[in-house]
């Protein structure tokens, strides 16, 4: 996929995220919009995973630690053909498997997540299994910057470095906002680069809403042989919709019909100027 196609895809994903959140009257809008470019590049360019090879032990794995941004994952998986997009019309409905956090009931999802601070330890174990078995697959996990105070992340950061898991890539969706407000005010975790470097990781920063930059960075993995890789993805919460950007009320705010139409109008316009 060309960079232009990736960018178009990101906008289409944003439109779908909003469409299904509007239908469900539920969802984590802001975080889904901030991380969707990352998922786009991972699934359409970086990772060796598809519905055809999903049961292969050699597939690349993606574990979403910030499970609440599941709507972004759903629209990407639907687009990749893991399930019919129409299934998303049941989002958050009675007995639907398409609930507000990822579960393995949905084809394409590796692990049930939702409680924060769980993705990195599981990803480390998954990457360790590859090393033990001599397999070449890679493991990607996406964390929110707001979940970093969970101590289990730092426990796993130690393990990943100790076992030299250079087949592991953790990506922090650093949109700088969490439900209470600015992450820096809630519990400042900066400087993340120095922290992870001191834990033994190779760290790089990127504009996490730029598919071209993301692709370039992921192509350079692992950043250093023998070290796990950390991507600090600088993103904008609510990215792509002017009135949602950087406004914490969209953490799990759901648009009304009028807001939805305005958002779609903006995204349609963005498609014309790529």
């Amino acid at each position: 996929m060309t960079i232009k196609e990736l960018k178009q895809r990101s906008i289409q994903y944003r439109k779908n995220v909003l469409k299904y959140i509007l239908q469900a009257k539920a969802g984590h809008t802001g975080g889904s919009l901030s991380c969707v470019d990352i998922l786009n590049v991972l699934y359409n360019d970086t990772m060796n995973v598809s519905p055809q090879n999903f049961s292969s032990p050699d597939r690349d794995r993606y574990i979403q630690s910030k499970g609440h941004s599941v709507e972004a994952l759903y629209v990407v998986l639907a687009d990749k053909g893991f399930f019919p997009e129409k299934d998303l019309e049941t989002l958050c409905q009675y007995k639907s498997h398409y609930i507000g956090h990822p579960t393995r009931k949905v084809n394409g999802i590796e692990q049930n997540t939702g409680a924060l601070g769980h993705g990195l330890p599981i990803a480390a174990g998954t990457a360790l299994a590859a090393k033990l078995d001599g397999r070449a697959y890679r493991v990607f996990t996406l964390l929110g910057d707001g979940e970093l105070p969970e101590g289990s992340n730092w426990e796993a950061a130690l393990t990943a470095a100790h076992y030299q898991l250079d087949n592991l890539c953790a990506i922090i969706d650093k949109n700088t906002l969490q439900i209470t407000g600015a992450t820096a005010d809630v519990c400042n975790t900066d400087p993340l680069d120095k922290k992870f470097e001191s834990f033994g990781w190779a760290v790089k920063e990127v504009d996490g809403n730029d598919p071209g930059e993301l692709k370039k960075l992921f192509d350079s993995l692992p950043f250093e042989k023998g070290k796990p890789s950390l991507v600090i993805a600088h993103t904008v919460k609510g990215k792509g919709v002017s009135f949602m950007e950087n406004d914490v009320k969209w953490h799990h705010g759901v648009p009304g019909k009028e807001q939805y139409e305005k958002a779609i109008e903006e995204l349609d316009h963005a498609l014309t100027v790529i």
Binding site: Q111, A115, P121, A124, G125, A129, A130, D133, S152, E155
Partner: protein, 320 residues
Amino acid sequence: MAEIITANIGYKPNQDVFSETMQRLAENDKDIIAVTSDSRGSGKLVPFGKKFPKQIVEVGIAEQNLVGVAAGLASCGKKVFAVSPACFLTARALEQIKNDVAYSDNPVKVIGISAGVSYGALGSTHHSLHDFAVLRAINNIIIVAPADNYETEKAVELASQTPHPVYMRFGKKPMPLLNEANDDSFAFGKGRVIREGDDVAIIATGETVYPALLAANKLSEQNISTAVVSMHTIKPLDTALVKKLAEKCRAVITVEEHSVCGGLGEACASYLLQQGIMKPFAIIGIPDEYTVTGSQQDIFNHYDISEKGIAARAVSLLKK
């Protein structure tokens, strides 16, 4: 009357048998993995680690990470035993057991060592009197407390072949064999009748089965016929056996190295009440109080988890 195999009194601690069984299994299966949190010494896994250095994963003192890493390994086909003192494993890492293991159905074998009050004199920080209760309330995890070396060996073998989550707890004390151990009838969810009887039924689990059996022998001297069951699987509970015993006997006593809240006793009581089977019933365990200090045996004696204590409760229950 069932004879206790006295020649084996002072046999091995169940956690030693766990380690030996792990070594035997690992000989022919490179997917057997032990994950430890600086716990290979307490888990008797030092020889395992020496023999199979590529099959032991050390994460340091980090129980949450221990379970998460174990879940990741298990999701890739490894037969993972996550080993840590039961007190820390089932409290600090409870959310990981709930989500990463049970909810995600990653077939991790969660191994709680030095369980119950095995670390008696170290105090309540080191006791696990809550593990049955909290894990019973979590869907999709088998809960097992083997009583003797035979049950331990069978349970570890069976767990390694079970494609779903299992929790097992072991103690440090050498345990006598309770019965002839030469059959292959051990199965999760099927209690072992160690001794038949029809006046009182004692349903015990883990290291309390042995004092229950001693109590039964003592009661026979008073012509009280006592059934003893090793209910090694707390969940799924062998309700058919519980029902059969309660219908047959005049009274039922449960015994466990666990809080009286939420464990084996309440599981049996809940089942029997809902079946409309009303028999004099007592739960022997650790009461809901600041736990007395001392050795495991001191604590057992203090709370009637003893030959004398269980027998006395049986006698008083039969008078009701």
